[in-house]
């Protein structure tokens, strides 16, 4: 049973987050170890295992990037363990420019504001890429999947960049 099946939804990138959350609560009520507190050791162990699987599935399905990656894995394309270098020069140049901006942000008059601007810009890119990704994954051809994989690789960079902005914000803000 794959994670989509576990949550009783169709194997597709598009999903309804609110109903996913509802299903999650339903599954939690059926499998959480606390519901088996007066059960036998075997029941408790089984509950822990099943519940761990449900937790893993939920966190994977609710985040678009991991959901897309998982979907491609189901279609036989393993991105998690690949050694792949991005050859898109424009994308790489853009990355370098952002990184420079991030490195020099301290020297700006209002570094926190600069960080917000940078964050907004990257968020726009993420939003844009996710829309493309959704369309590509819906086509279900080898070629579209290859293109989708490229978007996933790029999105990983973008999310990482956001994390670094977060860290920078932490070090710059008073608290």
């Amino acid at each position: 049973m794959n994670y989509f099946e576990l949550f009783n939804i169709k194997v597709a990138f598009e999903l309804d987050l609110a109903s996913l959350a509802q299903t999650y609560q339903k599954l939690q009520r059926l499998t959480h170890p606390d519901k088996f507190a007066s059960g036998s050791e075997q029941q408790k162990l089984l509950a822990v295992q099943k519940n761990a699987q449900i937790n893993d599935a939920y966190s994977l399905l609710k985040a678009p990037l991991s959901r897309a990656e998982y979907l491609l894995a189901l279609r036989g394309m393993d991105l998690q363990h690949e050694q792949h270098t991005i050859k898109d020069t424009a994308f790489l140049m853009q990355q370098m420019q952002w990184r420079e901006q991030l490195a020099e942000v301290q020297e700006q008059a209002d570094p926190l504001h600069e960080l917000e601007l940078l964050e907004d810009e990257i968020s726009q890119h993420i939003k844009h890429d996710l829309i493309q990704l959704e369309a590509l994954l819906a086509i279900e051809t080898e070629e579209a999947d290859q293109q989708a994989a490229n978007f996933i690789r790029k999105l990983k960079f973008l999310y990482k960049m956001c994390k670094e902005i977060d860290l920078k914000q932490d070090t710059l803000s008073d608290f």
Partner: protein, 620 residues
Amino acid sequence: MALLQISEPGQSAAPHQRKLAVGIDLGTTNSLVATQRSGETCTLPDAAGQHLLPSVVRYLDDQIVVGETAKLQASHDPVNTIVSVKRFLGRSLADIQGVYANLPYQFSDSASPMMEVVSGVVNPVQVSAEILLSLKARAEQTLGDELSGVVVTVPAYFDDGQRQSTKDAVELAGLKLLRLLNEPTAAAIAYGLDSGQEGLIAVYDLGGGTFDISILRLSKGVFEVLATGGDSALGGDDFDALLVEHIREETALTGPLSKSLHRTLLDKAKIAKENLSHESVSSVEFTDDQGHQQAVMISINRFEALIQPLMKNTLRACRRALKDAGLEKQQIAEVVMVGGSTRTPYVCQQVGEFFETSPLTSIDPDRVVAMGAAIQADILVGNKPDTDILLLDVLPLSLGIETMGGLTEKVIHRNTTIPIAKAQEFTTFKDGQPAMMVHVVQGERELVADCRSLAKFSLQGIPPMAAGAAHIRVTFQVDADGLLNVSAMEKSTGVKAQIQVKPSYGLADSEIALMLQASMQYAEQDMQARMLKEQQVEASRVLENLQAALSIDGHTLLGEAEKHTIEQALGHLKLLAAGDDKEAIKAAISKVDEASQDFAQKRMDSSIRQAFSGQSVDRI
């Protein structure tokens, strides 16, 4: 432990026979026990009417004194009076002395904190167990029977070592642990049930020695922790220590103080801190080691300036937790205040300003955690089979293992909902490498040296292979208590290693067993009787549950042959369960487990299928 209730399997016992369960808040400064009685949650007082039991244990030649009496002697007998032992649980001696200089105890020469007291050497687990035993006695006296189980609270930010040590202390006190519950979650239950509210809440918990912040979502009885953060070595005791430092500066008390003067100053600083909650100035008077009278006036402004940096640290943790939860502070509907240190008005004011809302303080901040734990204990022990309440907790600190160059590879990230299991593959880096050391660490930092070391174990017997050819799969499993199990396996050969992660500075299982045996209450005979009873209880659980399961689902999910095998194993267990051979009962339970493994799995899957098809889901 309650007497075993044996009923004819299949016909369950009197359905609503209440079992006694309590919630225990094992605090740094004070501990409490609470229970649910006729629908009300209440903390239980001692004979003198006191609800708070000071977490102080004094060792005398021939007896152990816990609580207020011990606390009163702390400054006269500092070496034998262990105060705030919770700070030492699951910690190395070097850690403890790094954080708390000037501790008045005689530590033995060992890596883990062993304290030399007049009656011998004690470790933090044993000291904590004494506090639990005192509360257990109080509860059993008040409620008039043995306890079936307890829920014990821990700071959400406790790491695996600290949790494991707490669990060990519960076992050592002879109590049945239903669950380790995070303190903020417990507080949320206590508040959530009273107001029946929905939405996002923040729990700000500043106790004597620990600080926690948790962000929760409440929805239809489900308490989902979204993020948690904090500092397991920051609390009201630090306010006291800062005041002592200030007093020393003002009176030019340089150089080492006698242990008893240091204790006296801490006690007086605590009183001054409490006075400053409702007065603008407080004075501290004492006699120094040279016999001189000293007096210092402390103003509220001075005090607030002293603790301001600590407050800032707590608010920084709040900000981080909000970010981890992906929320803005304006989205938080309520802020719950927990812990005695939130009585300091400056703390409440700062937190209120940060979250832009006035914090909830309607339940006594000292008792709210124990009360929430009592509610959960009542549910887990089975007194409320129809409850909707469900707690979803998270892992407070990332778990990882050491890789080349002293770096940490994270396997499970912090704020992941538990229980959870994750596997990661690693490989050898030398040709023919026969073994691999697995070093499990917990923390957020990249360097292993900056994280907490949880355990080291080795996977032996890897057959000769080229570097990089072996595939070693390391699986981390965290249960609902936040406790970790790790196993490692080489994939091509199936060579395995498994450990229950025991804190590097805690106790091994064998040590606990020895201590249990050594303690007066568990003479050899008692131990045997207790173990037999445990097996019998488990046997009756297995019998009852499986009989019920067979009558509901046996005909739909099982073939005749399969059903027959299970029934045979059950019959065998039923025969043995009435006897007194604990090993035979244990073996018979294993047989039943083996025979019914598939059936149990099928039932779980079928309950999930039914939930989706909209049929009745209330039978599990």
